[in-house]
Symmetry: none
Subunit: 218 residues, 4 copies
DNA sequence: AATGAATGAGTATTCATTCAT
DNA sequence: GATGAATGAATACTCATTCAT
């Protein structure tokens, strides 16, 4: 399994995108110099401009192409699953597999995407919307099957879910994966999202059998 | 009720922070010039440096002072509530009230905080951690009372919850509050987080009584 | 008598224009770096941008302000002269006095003005047209008084006259004033322009009394 | 009659020179990219360097080869004329014929030659001097025959004449030949240069028979 | 304290030129 | 000979920061 943005032709375009992902992850978009990327890619500064109009465009291309690959992959994963709730579990599982598989890309998307959406002119970010809409598609299907209450708005739920996954991605890529395993993040996220965090029949006035509670994990 | 960062002394320090919030919200940290802020504050560029060491420090101060106020406020709100689940409901309610109350600040925090955490040297972001730890404190309390399963890690849950709220905040501040009301975001978030999105007794093999399902809200 | 572009206030604007004139004269507009001008003016590069939008604008300002001064001066000179032919003599005399007085400026105007007219966007060069129109004004007046044949078009004659003066200016500024004196250039130009080069009554079939003819002066 | 720079071998060298003339005329030397010329010539950028050492050399070659052709042509025209004044008339006539015949070349020579003379290192511009010396040759001959006063210096007169022709060429190529016909420019230039602009016997204190004088032609 | 003119380090981008194919 | 991808030196311009007033 190759890096996400990595079609067979190992060309300059690809080489530059990979170098940009790595460098943006390390230094951030605004603190990355074109010359940093060029050095990382072992090419001349000017070469980057043969493949990308400018620095903004490079970031946008990076996002679009990466999201495109990711979307293809996750759609493939979901294709054979019927139960929407199971699809949602698979989506979450896939999300964290992606994060492990391409940590630098995950970091760039998680840290830079908001800024880019807002401050790069004319960036409509179609692919990212498409990714989110996979979630709302699942939700709508689940609602149709009576698995999710209809008064919950798919457009809101998709953001709640993505927001949760995104924030967990953030701490994992920033922490240097030392604190929590991706498996733990994935399973807790899955449970919390699908079942909620509250124990059902104790919703009001429940009591604890296990008062011992260490500080660990805050 | 004054803007969050607004202690009684209506001084230059305050004036600059307010101008910075407004300008960062509009143009983003990296695209904002010190002169933009000075102009917004109706002072000279140089004056900013009498109150803040540099541009980075201004952003950090803005975050710390704002979070400090927010933390005081939310703690006050939670003080009289015993049930941790109710505290969580109140926390979420408060979060969106804050967003409405100081939209520019919400936008800056939501859009700029990640970047800042990572790329502003030596920024430890104690206050933001404290805000998050209010959530994990509630969770731990709930776990102690048997309201939340103990195998869910508070340090993870707090991020799931914050991530969800943060993402909803983002769409509201960016959309110009046209699509969803804050009340709807708040109530859906509360329900999804506390109860989860899946209908309990239909978890497996449920069917839908109401197959009609509009596309709206994606 | 101060340099042409030199109003009483010895400010940065003025200082930069003078430095630009000197540097453009020496190296040409396209081969002059902003840093060359800044160095010549003993200021920082950035300071230039406090006074001029960009390099193009600096050149245009230089032209406009210089021509403005020149136009005022020549109009003053012509004001007390009635005979248009005498006005024309005075104009030519003045032109070469200017050249001597501000050689660098003369060089910039003569060498760079054509390029600028054509390739600096939106440069309409009103002042230069006004300078030329002083000549056509004189011509028209002379034609009204029967001193210049009416079939000669003022708009063409003004260009013939300016072209001649301009070309002579060029060789003088480039030659380092070694070959011909400005007085000689001025007097030959005056005579050639006003009387033409041909001896009148020998117009056809004249013969030469003085066949000796050195190569000098080619 | 082929374009001036156009010897029988219709080779790449020629092709490049023609493309350069067209492109320099349109965009100016400094604003023309090698790739612009290559595109105009339908060849690869690198090919230009097989025929010309660099961009400067290309411009110089363009001038030298063009002037060489022009010189041959004008010498042929003058060969059969005895009267130097008639030769001068023919020279002027030829000059404007050239302008019409190869407008792009005329534009390049008129607009770019001064800059090149001064700022392209080691460019001696022998051919252009030779062209000018055809004029001074005629003048010297005329002086020998008593047709032109000997106190007028041929080296100055040639510049006066060329300057006048050059300036008229400029307005014609830039105006898109809308304002004056080349014939009018040519005839007025011829008359002004040979006879001067002043009516002889009215040189002092003349009066006008025709005070009506339109503004047209300024 | 407040100003804002001046600074000059920093960088995205361009483009003449090269050279492997 | 032709190509055109790659190079990397060069530079206009920006803007955080300083400091004399």
């Amino acid at each position: 399994m190759k890096k996400i943005v990595n079609n067979e032709k190992n060309d300059k375009h690809e080489q530059i995108i990979r170098a940009a992902i790595k460098t943006f992850a390390r230094k951030g978009f605004y603190n990355t110099r074109i010359s940093d990327i060029a050095k990382e890619a072992n090419i001349a500064d000017g070469t980057i401009y043969l493949y990308f109009k400018n620095k903004d465009t490079l970031l946008v291309s990076l996002f679009e192409e990466s999201m495109d690959q990711i979307i293809q992959m996750v759609k493939g994963r979901l294709a054979n699953i019927d139960d929407p709730i199971e699809q949602l579990r698979e989506f979450i599982k896939f999300h964290f597999e992606m994060v492990r598989y391409d940590k630098f890309l995950a970091e760039v998307i998680t840290v830079e995407l908001r800024q880019s959406n807002k401050f790069i002119k004319q960036y409509k970010n179609i692919k990212f919307r498409e990714y989110l809409n996979i979630i709302s598609g699942i939700i709508r299907e689940a609602q149709a099957k009576g698995l999710i209450a209809k008064h919950l708005v798919p457009g809101i739920l998709k953001r709640i879910i993505f927001g949760a996954l995104d924030e967990l991605t953030l701490i994992w890529v920033l922490a240097g994966d030392t604190k929590y395993t991706l498996e733990k993040l994935s399973s807790d996220a899955t449970e919390a999202i699908i079942n909620g965090i509250a124990i059902k029949n104790k919703h009001i006035g429940g009591n604890s059998e296990d008062p011992g509670n260490s500080k660990k994990g805050e």
